[in-house]
């Protein structure tokens, strides 16, 4: 089926399809968990999920990164350990990357 995104109807159809898909991903896991009892094993699984997901998000970024990104990661960790503020640490890491890219064109 071909849809023309330059017409209002075509664009609305595309956005509607994207909206339904996005909402389904947000509620699918939630819905299915209603039928799962939280045993110690399930609890261990859910507890480990955040760090496993964060490792998964960071690995490819680290793999594709260069010196600027590595320095950015290091500064992020250092600032977080000093101040325990995640947004401040992220902004510091972002600033480091911007400075190094500007200075050395990484």
């Amino acid at each position: 089926m071909s849809v023309d995104p330059s017409t209002p109807a075509g664009l609305a159809l595309i956005i509607a399809a994207m909206t339904v898909t996005a909402y389904m991903t947000r509620v699918a896991g939630f819905f299915l968990m209603r039928f799962v009892a939280v045993t110690p094993r399930v609890e261990a699984w859910l507890k480990a999920l955040p760090l496993a997901i964060m490792g998964s998000i960071l690995a490819p970024i680290a793999a594709h990164g260069g010196p600027a990104e590595y320095a950015g990661f290091a500064v992020t960790i250092a600032v977080f350990l000093m101040r325990r503020n995640d947004i401040l640490a992220a902004l510091a890491g972002m600033g480091t990357v911007a400075l190094l890219r500007a200075a050395f064109g990484f």
């Binding site: 956005i15 399809a17 998964s56 995640d86 902004l91």
Partner: protein, 241 residues
């Protein structure tokens, strides 16, 4: 995980707390929204269309990938696949958040999940570990993110050409850096190394050979399931010589 016996709640105070904390995320959300707005304008989306997409889809990476396939022959399928691939991790996020929300009416939880994004999910997990169960914190932070996301989209689609190259400003690095500092906060000890490292290793391989954002789903499942099925060491082993 701190065990709390009382059910989850939804309070006005919680909403305000989440919203105020979310204000700290505004620079990043606005910048990310502006990146999307600029690129949307670049493929010919009207400001209204870009804004509507941001309001309803509310997923930066998914929307960017959709724009990337804007000239695909089967655009409708390409955009749906883009959203599914990039948001696949939210299936896991939703599973992880469900026990925390137990006891709150589905009339509140299902609309609340519309606002599920990365930062407020991570915040919900932090609240869960602290033994707090006010899900309005999650909604408040999601609302703050939505405000920033829409403001950024409108600014980017309207006046984006004034901004210059977003990469030069390091804006693409905000989200990874934010996740890294969250991971530091989640880190409790050596036992956390394996789920993190296995997730990272599997994600690296899947990213290399599959693409999309399937690496997050694959790595997240592999690392966390390993933790769930890891043979449990008896406690006294740690004090043995």
């Amino acid at each position: 995980m701190a065990a709390t016996e009382h059910a989850s709640r939804f309070t006005r105070d919680g909403f305000m707390r989440g919203f105020m904390e979310g204000i700290g995320l505004l620079p990043g959300m606005i910048a990310f929204g502006a990146v999307f707005g600029v690129l949307a304008e670049g493929v010919g989306l009207p400001v209204v269309g870009a804004t509507a997409m941001s309001a309803f889809v509310f997923s930066g990476t998914a929307q960017l990938l959709a724009l990337h396939s804007w000239d695909a022959p089967d655009l409708l399928l390409a955009t749906v696949v883009a959203v599914a691939a990039m948001n696949a991790r939210y299936i896991l996020f939703g599973a992880a958040i469900q026990p925390w929300m137990r006891g709150v009416s589905p009339w509140i939880t299902y609309p609340s999940l519309f606002l599920l994004v990365d930062p407020n999910w991570a915040t919900a997990m932090r609240e869960r570990d602290a033994g707090r169960r006010d899900i309005a914190v999650f909604v408040g932070m999601g609302a703050a993110c939505m405000v920033g996301w829409l403001a950024g989209t409108i600014a980017g689609a309207g006046f984006g050409s004034l901004l210059g190259d977003p990469r030069r400003l390091g804006l693409d690095f905000f989200l990874p850096a934010f996740f890294l500092s969250l991971a530091c906060g989640f880190w409790k000890g050596r036992g956390d190394l394996l789920p993190f490292a296995i997730g990272a290793a599997v994600a690296f391989v899947v990213d290399r050979y599959v693409g999309g954002s399937w690496h997050v789903l694959a790595g997240g499942l592999a690392g966390s399931l390993f933790a769930a099925f890891m043979p449990r060491k008896p406690k006294q082993e740690e004090t043995a010589p």
